[in-house]
Symmetry: C2
Subunit: 355 residues, 2 copies
């Protein structure tokens, strides 16, 4: 798996033009969703001569459309418009677009180069970098996918200033996760940020620091055999919260589920790994202040456990695996946790977040 | 991409048991088609204690079923039966099964280990080794796939003694291709083999030599940026012959199309690269003796050119690329050939093969 260039810029058009000049792709295919297509992709195409002959493929927005049917529609367009393995795909959108567009590119004619331009904070911090591509399948998140690194990720923090507050919250949960993995200083800095009244210059600095935490961990272990599992902090519970919400036809943003999942994992870390209680309470209080409360009910616990057993990170279908923390910056991967401890932790999490 | 163990054996059950003992997969999923499932997979499961808890997933036989729907049905079964990324997939069948089962394994939860047990000569010589997985899409062969090496390929030449003659012909075309890429000695040996009255001990020796040609070339260039394209000898024309036959609802075996494609490429090699005419005529005569004649008509030439333009190996949709030979053992990759030369070569090929 080759390296990804990470580009921070005020001008996406010129950064992208530079990549195109260097790579000389035979055909450029831009994948965007019904939100980013008119707002970001079209204006970018109008302002970038290197995109003059690019084709735009628009998919319906929303994680519920990150599915096999939408994937097949991308493949069909690529095929019908004569894409070759020497073409280039440019994904413009949040994680839904970079996950699905990345998977389409990785599998079309066994692999076409792609560039990710995240348009959400969550996408920038999480999905755009690291090579995890996927679609949802059979009601399960990211069940089908491959590891395939993008050629480059182009990050323009200005995009995020125009996002609704909910989107910002969603991305910030992953930023908190990276801070927990980096150490006490990074965590204090992240918890000091006022999400209700964001300072975007400060956010950009936090963002660069945060993305580099992920880049460092992924470079050590691209295929997630070891330390990359640390990035799963909060995610075993988060995926279950998300899948449950999908089943109830009231999907929740990934980042909200991650914020709740982080609190579940910190409770477990306190219970099982001796994590300092102040860290748990500082994070729980921050999440409680800025995020909605978890939507899961006591009657959902059995289903949440079932969903966790399906998580890709689990060694067997009978065990449930978590990444936990001994301290900020000291993750412990592959922690098997008993179902009773998990339901206790969800219960405490719901209390802390006033659910 | 990690290496593949290549195992020649008289006892597939014990070889597979050895792999399972070493790898300790959490769950084994055998993928077979409606032919190999009762004839080979079931008896193997009955005779191999290591497969006691394995699940059998059977797909409809035939290349026309190597499609997204069948792929989704495999993913569904894996998902429903609790496969994890620590499970193992065992593909038992010809290229259709190893291509599609390999792709299913490579993409389920972003990648599950797999072992290929080819049950046809074609599968053993070609599809089972080399990491190319795929399904057909939008009427195009292998349009969607990834490179993902199997953990091991287990080859038992005894399987092929029970194959119908047509299957033997099909695999033998790829064996001829490897001989052309290896050199004059290997070619002479391959052309000396009596396909109408096969000696299976001799075939096993030829087979080992042949598979190792492919293994050597793939190891040099797993993702087909350079020398691996040599393995495309005969295949630009062959894929077009196959796609045309699919469009006409009278599919031809891959290996027959490859035999015709080899003759087309040798005609072009004679025309454009000075290949010795004796090699062209020796191969054409062997193909004419043992294989059916090409089914394409003069009126199909334009469509064949269109189909070649869609070939994954092409740099742009406007050019058509071939691997040609200067001599046996001396391939030249990335040869752009003019449409008029291609139709002339197809015409000469049809004459040589008495179509």
């Amino acid at each position: 798996m080759s390296d990804t260039s990470l580009i921070f810029t005020d001008c996406v058009a010129s950064s992208l033009a530079g990549i195109i000049e260097k790579e000389k792709p035979k055909g450029i295919f831009i994948i965007a969703d019904s939100n980013t297509s008119p707002l970001i992709a079209r204006p970018l195409m109008d302002n970038c001569q290197a995109l003059d002959s690019a084709r735009l493929i628009t998919v319906d927005a929303g994680d519920e459309n990150k599915n096999i049917d939408a994937l097949a529609s991308i493949w069909s367009r690529l095929s019908a418009e004569g894409a070759t393995r020497h073409s280039m795909v440019v994904n413009i959108g949040g994680g839904m677009v970079t996950d699905m567009g990345g998977f389409a590119a990785a599998t079309f004619k066994r692999g076409v180069r792609c560039v990710n331009i995240p348009t959400t904070l969550l996408g920038a911090v999480d999905a755009a970098l690291g090579g995890k591509t996927a679609v949802n399948f059979a009601g399960l998140k990211n069940e089908i996918g491959v590891f395939a690194n993008p050629l480059a990720v182009i990050v323009n923090a200005r995009f995020f200033a125009t996002l609704p507050a909910a989107e910002l919250l969603s991305g910030y949960a992953e930023l908190l996760k990276h801070a927990l993995l980096e150490g006490a200083d990074a965590l204090a800095e992240a918890l000091d940020f006022d999400l209700s009244n964001p300072d975007y210059d400060r956010l950009q600095q936090l963002l660069e620091r945060s993305i580099k935490v992920k880049q460092r961990i992924v470079a050590e272990d691209p295929h997630e055999h070891g330390i990359r599992k640390a990035l799963n902090l909060g995610h075993t519970a988060a995926h279950a919260f998300e899948s449950l919400a999908m089943e109830k036809d009231s999907p929740v943003p990934h980042g909200h589920a991650v914020a709740w999942g982080l609190v579940v994992d910190l409770v477990l870390s306190r219970m099982l790994k001796g994590l300092d209680t102040q860290i748990l309470h500082a994070v729980a209080s921050y999440v409680d202040t800025h995020y909605p409360s978890p939507s899961a009910l006591c009657s959902d616990y059995d289903r949440l456990l079932q969903l966790m057993r399906h998580d890709k990170k689990n060694i067997t279908a009978d065990s449930i695996n978590f990444t936990l923390l001994q301290a900020a910056g000291s993750p412990v991967i592959d922690c098997e946790v008993a179902p009773a401890d998990i339901t206790a932790a969800i219960d405490i999490c719901r209390d802390l977040l006033h659910a």
